[in-house]
């Protein structure tokens, strides 16, 4: 049985990724593939909606970190929203909360890109 699922959708020029379940070193490749698919299609405004993400290890965080510079250089960004408290605490432990915007809901996260443009 799969413990991790991923899907994404496009809302105007922003891609919203929905990781679901348990994201660790075993299934991180699927998360990276989704990220690369978006980068390949020139989408640089990315929202990661963590509503259904109940676990993340450094493998998953590494993907969020590894493409950030490339995305920001292209004028985009990665924003996170709807993060469960326990998952948020993990992001906070390594300092992600100082580097990324964490928003309460998806609309607000997408809206953040509109503020800039």
């Amino acid at each position: 049985m799969k413990s991790f699922y991923i899907r994404s959708k496009l809302v105007e020029d922003t891609a919203v990724i929905y990781p679901k379940g348990h994201l660790d070193a075993h299934n991180v490749e699927r998360f990276e593939k989704e990220m690369l698919k978006l980068l390949g299609s020139e989408v640089v405004n990315i929202v990661i909606n963590c509503k259904e993400l109940n676990y993340i290890s450094s493998a998953g965080m590494g993907i969020i970190m590894g493409y950030l510079d490339e995305i920001r250089e292209k004028g985009g960004d990665i924003k996170l929203c709807c993060v469960d408290q326990r998952v948020y605490e993990i992001f906070d432990l390594v300092g992600f909360t100082e580097i990324y915007d964490f928003l309460d809901d998806e609309e607000a996260a997408i809206g953040k890109f509109k503020d800039v443009s």
Binding site: H26, L68, E70
Partner: protein, 155 residues
Amino acid sequence: MKKPQLENLKMFPEKPELSISIPSKTELLKMVVELASHIATLNHFSPSESQKIALAVDEAITNVIKHSYRNVIDEDIKLEFYTAPDGLKTRIVFTGVPPVLGKLGVNLDKMIKEGKKGGLGVELMRRIMDSVEYKTVGNINSCEMVKWKKKKSAV
């Protein structure tokens, strides 16, 4: 990070409360996380602390699979849990390439600039646990991590 006192470490029994051996397969990480979290909860750590302890164990085992066993499956990893009234100790025993630990602390800005995807695992282990110690004796490596319970403040 707090330094463990020798007398505190002696609080743990010599024999582990639970010991399992697993093959070096990443598909077993989730099972390990569930087990570690369950043991921490049984040992009266809060759900939030238990999940963090489980994450530290996940990171340690992921490192063993990736770096010591170079992703070769079916190598042996032994995981032991020692419980004491004031804390929990986990010990991971493995062979393969001895681990080399980087400096304490990470520079996230620099890692982002360099497009790095790795390097956060050991940092998480160190930030979550009160002590993280790697040892190599002969061809046997071990990673010992201790988490002490927070003292309840007096009302």
